[in-house]
Symmetry: C2
Subunit: 337 residues, 2 copies
Amino acid sequence: MDLVQGVLNGDRLALTRTLTQVENDTPTGRAALNALFTHTGRAHLVGVTGAPGSGKSSLVNKLAGYYRYPPDGEAPRRVAIIAVDPTSPFTGGAILGDRIRMRDLAGDQGVFIRSMATRGSLGGIAAATAAMVQVFDAAGFELVLIETVGVGQAEVDVAHLAHTTVVVEAPGMGDDIQAIKAGILEIADILVVNKADHPGVDSTERALRGMLELAHPAPRRYAHHGQIELVPAAAPAPVNDEPLWIPPILRSVATEGTGISEIAAAIASHRLHLEETGGWKVRERLRLQAELDMLLQAKLVACWKAQLPEEAYTQVLDDLLVRQLAPHQAVERLVKC
Amino acid sequence: MDLVQGVLNGDRLALTRTLTQVENDTPTGRAALNALFTHTGRAHLVGVTGAPGSGKSSLVNKLAGYYRYPPDGEAPRRVAIIAVDPTSPFTGGAILGDRIRMRDLAGDQGVFIRSMATRGSLGGIAAATAAMVQVFDAAGFELVLIETVGVGQAEVDVAHLAHTTVVVEAPGMGDDIQAIKAGILEIADILVVNKADHPGVDSTERALRGMLELAHPAPRRYAHHGQIELVPAAAPAPVNDEPLWIPPILRSVATEGTGISEIAAAIASHRLHLEETGGWKVRERLRLQAELDMLLQAKLVACWKAQLPEEAYTQVLDDLLVRQLAPHQAVERLVKC
């Protein structure tokens, strides 16, 4: 297969085409994924999430730059960035941000930036992200930075696709009760207070530390969200098997490049921690299970749709509208089991 | 049915119990929903969404207060608040915020506040929210304010459950490219710049206005996200049928109660607009379809799980881990159609 060989050879055009096929979930895309899958499992998948205004995109850009031009003679590494933007399902709003960031890293063959504003197909953004990650992984990118905007369920789902999750906050946002979210903290492996030259950085860091102490040393919980939750009784219990990692709280001023090397060091430490403790395998299993469940769900719906007479659905919807049928009753009429 | 009658009579204890049964999706909860459904369709469902730090919770509280104690002799109205918090799937982080807001409205029988940090069951938060909305609607609450945190897919899904969506921004957040999201703007019926006493309010409003002009006067698009997308060809085409509504941009300082009456007036105007133009029915249909699709999806997965031998799933997951099987191949092995 031409496209697949191109991806494995590091051909950028083949990569771009494959990503498009994969994002659109075409037969070609699926065939490519099937062929590429045996070449995956090497990349370090790093999720970077944070609310709008936290400066997380700048941070991701600078981090990519750091991996490309590491200090003191380390080898440069190939970096892919997937910017996931679930808030723009309509107009693909990620494009503008993309152009701006392209300026920084343009022309570097070792960096590949892709943004996604996937219009909600079933399984949606998280499934498409998982598939793209595989392509980058097979193409030999050593780091895949998965950037997600903010604070929603989609972000938590995407975080479950990463080995290491970096949560970015900024001073002043943390004053609000809602800004510091226990749920987001519990997916964080590394916390960054960006814009650390802004006033309020101490209180934001203090607040984060306080929240962390509440959340830990309870073991990091790993759950399945919006997934099938078909965790067989025989599966390993990741919660207790994964030894303790206390998320460090780091400061940065991404626009000036300050604190970036420390963040890169923390990411490397976390990978080492996962490898030494067996956590890497646990996360791999959870990651793949999350992906499998998303695809299963989409397939089940597709199978059902294929056999459904169209009028049956329309009739039920009409009955719902006039309140002759309640939603659960409607479902029972349409699906028997 | 005792519980159902209690809800219809406005009994708070019955309401609380029913909501818990519904949130936990118990047989009792489902039976109650089935019985209550004929009594729904009257409440005005208002989604209020905004990023952390926008002050949206204060705004929702003040808005509820306004409906309870309206000026110039209008009748007070019963208000339910559902605070949806998808970022706290783990620890139910909504509780703290809840306690704080309870202080303002405590003891008022015409207000009911419920927060949700539903642990991702399939269909998840949006499905549970839709069900709770029905309970409040049947119980005679004239307004149901559905408050969602921020900027994720879950928020867009929840917005599709409302008749009117209010998007709250705050000055200073809008400077960031990412803060003003075309996707969020396109679900907005009313835009509010809260914290309007903060510096930068003019530029935030200008930015919003600029984005609005880009987004409109194209008709408001209504899509299905993460849903089944089974829109029969025979269904009405809502996009073109719904006449133009230009979202107003309002200013408020929620903590001081400034601008609240204007927001309430805009919400009332929007309802009137929907009723006069037939948009109300269009949204009702889309709302119910979204809900139906979520439940169908969950049911299909449940049916499939019920007939699946557990070892089959575990074996496939093991094969995935050693890269003997790619995800799509795994799905094909587990689901035939």
